[in-house]
C-alpha cells in the first residue's frame, strides 16, 4: 500500500474516537445505547486501522512515515500538527486500541446501570483520542497537547462519580500532580525548541525528527542536553507516576474500574515510558539524565512493590503493582534499553488490564473492594478467577507467560548495565510474587468472608458473588489469551530499529528471577493459604516498617504539608498583603490622605469675615513680596 494510504489510516485511527466524543456530546447525551455504540465502534475502527498498519509494516511498508499540517502558522513561526509512523508508534497504537477495545466493550457491561453512561463514553473516547495523539505525534506540541488532554480525560474519569468527595479529590490530585510535572516538561520543550536550529533564527522547530538530526550531529552541548532531558523527564515523572510524583495513582483508583484498567494501568501511565522511548535519542545523548531515569525507575519499582504488600484494597494493590512495573520500564529505559521497556509495556498492558478488569468483575459482583471481605471466589466466579490468576502469574513472572519474557529482558539489561539496580530489580520481582500471591490466595481461595447485606438492586445471594455477564467475561478471556501469547509475538524484533542497548535472553538471570518469584510465592502460600502466621502477627513483627509502608512512606503527608502549610501560607500572606498593605494602606491611604487634606483645608473657611480679610491681606502681601522684591 502506498504511504499516503497508510498515513490516512493513521489519521482515521486517531480522529475516530474524537468524532465519537463530539457526536456523543452533541447528540447522544440523552441516548445511552447510541453513546456506547459510537464509542466502541469508533475504537474498533481505530483498532482495525492499527492492525492494518501493523500488517503492512510487517510486509515491507517503508517506515518511518511522517506527515504534518500547519496548526499555527505565521511568517517565522510554525507549530505543526503531525504524525509519525514507525514500528514504535504502530506497536503502541496496537496496544492502546486493542486493550482499549476490550475495555470499552467490558465497560458497556460494567457501567450499565450508571446514570452518567453517555458522559462516561464521551470521556473515554476523548481519552482514546488524546492517547492516540501521544502515540502518533511527530512533534513536541502535538505531543504536549495530547499529553495534557489525556490528563484532562483522566481527571474527568477519576472524578466521574463527582458526588463522592474522595473521587472528586482524587481527580483534582491527579490533575495537579501532572500539572506540576508538566511545568518541567513544557520548560523542556521550550528549551529544546530554542536550540533546535543550530544556526539560530527562523528555522527552529518542534519536530522530533529534526531535533534528532541536530542531536545526532552533535551540535548541542552535553549539559544542555542533560538539562533538557531532565526537564522532559519531569513530564514522565508525573504521567508515569514515578517517585516522587507517584502519589496520585493509588488515589486514582476512585474512578470506575475499567478506567483504572485502561488509563491507570495499561495505557496512559505507560505514556511516560513511551515518551522515553520516543525521544530516546535525546536521553541517549544525555548520560547524566539517563542514569537519573534509571535510578528513579528502580527506586519506584522497589518501594511501590513494598507498599503494594500492605494494601488491603484490591484495586490499590494493583495500583501499587502498576507503579512498581512502571518503575521497571522506566528503569529499563534509563539503562539504555527502550526495547525492553516497550516490550514490558506491551505485556504489562495486557496482563494489568486483565487484572483490573478481573478486579472490576469482582467488585461489580460484590460491591466491595477490601480483600479481607472476599474469599473463595474462584468457585463462584470461575472465569473471572481463572483469568485473574493467569494475569497474576504473568505479573509475577511465571515462566512461559508474557510477563516472564519481558521482565527477563529488563533484568538481563540491568545485569549487563548496573549490578546494583539488578539486585533491586530481582528483589522487586520477589516482592511482586509475594503481594500478588497474597491477593490471589486471600481473594480466590479459602472461605467466603463477607457478611455484607445483600445489595438491594442486585441479583445473587448476599455476600456470595456470581459470575459477570458475557460482555464482561469475554474481554477477560481475550486479554488472558494475549497475556499468554504476547511473549511469543516477536515484539523485540519488531522494534529493532530503536536505538539503545539490546541484550538477548539471559539464562542466569532467568534462573535467578524464577527463584525470586518462587520464594515470594512460597511465602505468600505459607502465610495466606496455610496461614502459618496471621496478618496481625506479621504486622507486630515488622511494626515500624509496616507502619511506614501503610503511611505511604510519608509522601502524602509531605505533600499535604506542602499544600496546606507552604502553599496556603503563601497564599494567605499574599492575601493579607493585598488586603492590608496594598488596599488597606496604599490605596485607601491615598484616599484617606486626600479626604483629610480636604477636611483640613476646609477649616480655613472659618466663617469669620475678618479672617477672610486677613488671608486676603496675607495673600496680597505674599504675591507682592515674591514678585517684586524677590
Amino acid at each position: 500500500m502506498v504511504a499516503g494510504r497508510l498515513l490516512t489510516l493513521a489519521w482515521v485511527a486517531w480522529f475516530a474516537p474524537l468524532a465519537a466524543c463530539l457526536m456523543i456530546t452533541l447528540v447522544g447525551l440523552q441516548r445511552r445505547r447510541r453513546a456506547a455504540t459510537l464509542a466502541v465502534g469508533s475504537l474498533l475502527l481505530s483498532f482495525l486501522c492499527a492492525v492494518t498498519l501493523w500488517w503492512h509494516s510487517l510486509h515491507g511498508a517503508a517506515l518511518p512515515l511522517q506527515q504534518a499540517f500547519s496548526w499555527i502558522r505565521f511568517d517565522g513561526f510554525e507549530v505543526p500538527l503531525g504524525i509519525l509512523l514507525d514500528p514504535l508508534s504502530i506497536l503502541m497504537l496496537l496496544v492502546v486500541t486493542g486493550v482499549g477495545s476490550a475495555i470499552f466493550i467490558y465497560s458497556t457491561g460494567y457501567m450499565h446501570d450508571d446514570p452518567g453512561y453517555p458522559r462516561y463514553f464521551a470521556c473515554l473516547s476523548l481519552f482514546a483520542f488524546a492517547m492516540l495523539g501521544i502515540v502518533l505525534a511527530d512533534n513536541w506540541i502535538t505531543l504536549f497537547i495530547s499529553w495534557e488532554l489525556v490528563g484532562l480525560a483522566s481527571y474527568l474519569l477519576i472524578g466521574f462519580w463527582y458526588q463522592r468527595p474522595a473521587a472528586a479529590d482524587a481527580g483534582k490530585k491527579a490533575f495537579m500532580v501532572n500539572r506540576v510535572a508538566d511545568f518541567g516538561f513544557l520548560l523542556g520543550i521550550l528549551l529544546l525548541w530554542s536550540v533546535s536550529d543550530p544556526l539560530g533564527g527562523a528555522h527552529r522547530t518542534f519536530a522530533l525528527p529534526a531535533l534528532k538530526d541536530v542531536i545526532e550531529h552533535g551540535y548541542l552541548p552535553q549539559n544542555l542536553l542533560n538539562i533538557g532531558a531532565l526537564l522532559i523527564f519531569c513530564g514522565v515523572l508525573g504521567k508515569s507516576a514515578q517517585m516522587p510524583l507517584h502519589v496520585w495513582l493509588p488515589d486514582a483508583m476512585e474512578g470506575p474500574t475499567p478506567v483504572s484498567a485502561l488509563i491507570h494501568a495499561a495505557t496512559m501511565v505507560a505514556a511516560g515510558v513511551y515518551l522515553l522511548c520516543r525521544v530516546f535519542f535525546l536521553f541517549d545523548a544525555a548520560p547524566i539524565a539517563l542514569s537519573v531515569v534509571a535510578w528513579v525507575g528502580g527506586i519506584t519499582a522497589f518501594l511501590a512493590g513494598c507498599m503494594a504488600f500492605v494494601q488491603n484494597d484490591l484495586k490499590r494493590i494493583l495500583a501499587y503493582s502498576t507503579l512498581s512495573q512502571l518503575g521497571y520500564m522506566v528503569m529499563a529505559a534509563g539503562l539504555g534499553g527502550p526495547v525492553a521497556a516497550m516490550y514490558h509495556l506491551t505485556t504489562h498492558a495486557c496482563f494489568k488490564a486483565l487484572l483490573f478488569l478481573g478486579a472490576g468483575s469482582v467488585i461489580h459482583a460484590l460491591h466491595e473492594q477490601e480483600i479481607w471481605k472476599m474469599g473463595g471466589l474462584l468457585k463462584t466466579m470461575p472465569v473471572t478467577g481463572g483469568t485473574f490468576l493467569i494475569g497474576a502469574a504473568a505479573l509475577a513472572g511465571f515462566p512461559g507467560l508474557s510477563g516472564f519474557w519481558s521482565k527477563d529482558e529488563i533484568l538481563a539489561l540491568a545485569w549487563h548495565q548496573n549490578w546494583l539496580l539488578c539486585i533491586v530489580a530481582i528483589v522487586t520481582a520477589g516482592l511482586t510474587a509475594l503481594y500478588m500471591g497474597r491477593a490471589c490466595f486471600v481473594v480466590f481461595f479459602g472461605q467466603p468472608r463477607s457478611h455484607l447485606p445483600r445489595p438491594a438492586n442486585h441479583a445473587g445471594r448476599g455476600g456470595h458473588a456470581h459470575e459477570s455477564p458475557p460482555v464482561m467475561t469475554v474481554p477477560l478471556v481475550v486479554l488472558a489469551v494475549f497475556t499468554i501469547i504476547a511473549g511469543y509475538l516477536g515484539i523485540p524484533e519488531y522494534l529493532h530499529q530503536l536505538h539503545g542497548v539490546q541484550v538477548g535472553f539471559n539464562e542466569i538471570v532467568a534462573v535467578i528471577s524464577v527463584l525470586a518469584m518462587s520464594t515470594g510465592l512460597w511465602l505468600a502460600y505459607q502465610i495466606y493459604y496455610r496461614q502459618v502466621m496471621t496478618e496481625q502477627q506479621l504486622i507486630q513483627r515488622g511494626m515500624a516498617v509496616y507502619q511506614a509502608l501503610v503511611d505511604k512512606l510519608g509522601f502524602d503527608t509531605f505533600y499535604d504539608w506542602l499544600v496546606l502549610r507552604v502553599q496556603q501560607t503563601a497564599a494567605k500572606l499574599c492575601s493579607l498583603f493585598e488586603r492590608f498593605i496594598l488596599i488597606g494602606t496604599l490605596v485607601n491611604g491615598t484616599g484617606w490622605v486626600t479626604r483629610t487634606a480636604g477636611g483640613l483645608l476646609r477649616l480655613c473657611q472659618t466663617g469669620r469675615v475678618q479672617f477672610y480679610v486677613l488671608v486676603f491681606l496675607f495673600g496680597m502681601t505674599a504675591l507682592i513680596y515674591v514678585n517684586v522684591l524677590r
Binding site: T594, G598, R602, Q605, N627
Partner: protein
C-alpha cells in the same frame, strides 16, 4: 461716540429701566409677569447680540471697544442672565415679598458684566466692576428673612469692598507710573519703558482684586459661604456671570495691556492656578451642602481656567474661552437642577438628594450629565475644555501644572460621584414625584443639549473662541 458698539449694554440698561418702570406701575398680580418680560427682553437683546456678530469698533474716546472677544463674552453673559432669570422665576414662586427689584438688579448686574467685557480703560473697568458688584451685593442679601442670606451679603460686601479698594489702589499705582488709564496708551507706555516695581505692584493689586471676583486662591474665601447663603439663582449668577465677566476683564487686561509684563504674571498665575485647583477640589470633598459643594468646585474650575491663562498662548486662551462656555452650560444646568429640587424638597443637603433618580429621572439625569461634564467626562463639554487647558499647559512647558490639573480631574470626579451616589445609588426617603414645569424643562434641555453639542461638535465653538482672541497674539 460710536454708540452701536455698546448696543447690548444700552439695551440692557433700557431693559433695566423698563423693568423698574413696570415694577412701579404694575400691581402685585401683574408683577408676576416681570419675569416673562425680562426673559423676552433678554431674548431680544440676544438677537441684537447675534446681529452684531463680526462687528467691531472703538468708541467713547477709546474707553470701550467692541471686538470679537467682547462679542463672545457678551454672549456668555447674556446666556448666563437668561439661565438665571429662569431660575429666578422658579425661585420667586415660593418667596414672599418684593420681586421686581430682583429682576432689575439682575439686569443691572448683567449690564455691568457686559460693560466689563467691553472696557478698554481702567476707569471704566473700575466703574463697571462696581456696578456689577453692587447689584450682586444686594441680590445676595435679597432674602431678608434668611439669616444665611444676610450673612452672605455682609461677607460678600466686606470682602468685595476690600477687593474694590485693591483694584482701585492698583489702578492708582499703574496710573502713577504711566500717567494713563486707557489700555492702548498703557500698552504703548509699558512696551517702551521697563516696568518699575510700582507698576508690578499695581498689576498685582489689580490681579488680587479681580482674583477675588473670579475666586482665585487666596482671594477665594468668600465663595463657599456666599454660594451657600445667597439665593440659589444669585449663587448661579455669581458662578457663571460674575466669573465670566471677571475673566473677561482679566483676559483683556493681562493679554493686551499687561502683555509686556507677561514674564511677571504668567508664573504667578501658574502657581495660583495649581493652588486654586487643589484647594477648591480638595476642600469640596467633605461638603454636605450642594450649593457649598458647587462653590468649592467653582474654585477648582477657576484653577483650570487660570491654567489656560498662565500659558499665555492662543491655544490656552481659546481654551479658557471655550471652557467658560462649557462652564456656563454645565454649571447652569447643575444650578437649574438645584433650584428645582430645593424649591420642591426645601433642602440643599446632598443627603436629601437620595433617590432623586426615582423621584424625578429627568432631574437626576440632568444632574448626572451636568456633574459629569464638570468632572470632565467625555463626550461632554467640560471634557474638551479641560483637554484644551491641560494641552495648553503642556504646550507651555508647564508639565507640573498639567500634572496637578490631571490629578484634580480625579479628585473632582470623586466628589461629583458622591453626589451621583446619593442621586442614583441611594433609595429615596420619600416617594413623591418631583415634576418640573415645561418652560423650565425646556431651558434645562437646552443646557443639556448644549453640553452634549459643545462636547461633541467642538469645532465651531473652538473656532469662535480662537477668532475672539487671535488678534492679541
Amino acid at each position: 461716540m460710536n454708540w452701536p458698539i455698546l448696543a447690548v449694554e444700552l439695551a440692557l440698561a433700557a431693559l433695566a429701566l423698563i423693568v423698574l418702570a413696570l415694577d412701579l406701575v404694575w400691581s402685585r398680580e401683574q408683577q408676576e409677569r416681570l419675569g416673562a418680560v425680562t426673559t423676552v427682553g433678554l431674548l431680544l437683546i440676544l438677537a441684537l447680540w447675534w446681529h452684531q456678530r463680526g462687528a467691531s469698533g472703538t468708541g467713547f474716546y477709546g474707553l470701550a471697544v467692541l471686538d470679537r472677544f467682547a462679542w463672545y463674552m457678551k454672549g456668555l453673559i447674556l446666556g448666563a442672565s437668561l439661565l438665571v432669570v429662569t431660575m429666578t422665576r422658579e425661585f420667586l414662586r415660593r418667596l414672599p415679598g418684593p420681586r421686581g427689584e430682583l429682576y432689575l438688579l439682575l439686569v443691572l448686574a448683567a449690564t455691568g458684566m457686559s460693560l466689563l467685557t467691553a472696557t478698554a480703560d481702567l476707569t471704566l473697568l473700575f466703574v463697571s466692576l462696581e456696578l456689577l458688584t453692587f447689584s450682586l451685593y444686594v441680590m445676595t442679601a435679597y432674602v431678608r428673612t434668611d439669616a444665611r442670606s444676610i450673612e452672605a451679603g455682609l461677607k460678600y460686601l466686606i470682602l468685595g469692598a476690600v477687593a474694590s479698594a485693591s483694584v482701585l489702589y492698583g489702578i492708582a499705582m499703574l496710573y502713577s507710573q504711566t500717567g494713563h488709564t486707557r489700555y492702548d496708551e498703557l500698552t504703548l507706555h509699558l512696551m517702551t519703558h521697563p516696568p518699575t516695581p510700582a507698576v508690578l505692584l499695581g498689576m498685582l493689586l489689580i490681579l488680587s482684586g479681580l482674583g477675588f471676583k473670579i475666586a482665585m486662591v487666596p482671594f477665594h474665601l468668600w465663595v463657599p459661604d456666599v454660594y451657600e447663603g445667597a439665593p440659589t439663582p444669585v449663587a448661579a449668577f455669581l458662578a457663571v456671570g460674575s466669573k465670566t465677566a471677571g475673566f473677561a476683564a482679566l483676559l483683556r487686561l493681562l493679554l493686551t495691556t499687561l502683555q509686556p509684563l507677561h514674564a511677571q504674571w504668567t508664573w504667578v498665575l501658574a502657581a495660583l492656578s495649581g493652588a486654586t485647583m487643589l484647594y477648591g477640589n480638595l476642600a469640596a470633598l467633605p461638603q454636605k451642602n450642594i450649593k457649598r459643594l458647587l462653590g468649592y468646585s467653582s474654585i477648582g474650575h477657576v484653577g483650570y481656567l487660570l491654567m489656560g491663562l498662565s500659558s499665555a498662548s492662543v491655544l490656552g486662551t481659546a481654551g479658557v474661552l471655550f471652557y467658560l462656555l462649557a462652564y456656563l452650560l454645565m454649571t447652569g444646568a447643575a444650578f437649574l437642577v438645584v433650584v428645582a429640587v430645593s424649591q420642591r424638597i426645601g433642602s440643599d443637603r446632598i443627603e436629601d438628594y437620595a433617590g432623586l433618580s426615582q423621584r424625578s429621572p429627568f432631574l437626576a439625569a440632568a444632574m448626572f450629565v451636568a456633574l459629569m461634564s464638570l468632572a470632565g467626562v467625555p463626550p461632554l463639554a467640560g471634557f474638551f475644555g479641560k483637554f484644551l487647558l491641560i494641552l495648553s499647559a503642556v504646550q507651555g512647558q508647564l508639565f507640573w501644572l498639567a500634572a496637578i490639573g490631571a490629578v484634580n480631574v480625579v479628585i473632582s470626579l470623586y466628589y461629583y460621584l458622591l453626589v451621583i451616589k446619593q442621586i442614583y445609588l441611594r433609595p429615596a426617603r420619600e416617594d413623591t414625584e418631583l415634576t418640573v414645569g415645561l418652560p423650565y424643562r425646556f431651558v434645562l434641555y437646552a443646557c443639556l443639549a448644549g453640553i452634549l453639542g459643545v462636547g461633541i461638535f467642538q469645532r465651531p465653538f473652538l473656532a469662535l473662541a480662537t477668532t475672539a482672541i487671535q488678534s492679541w497674539f
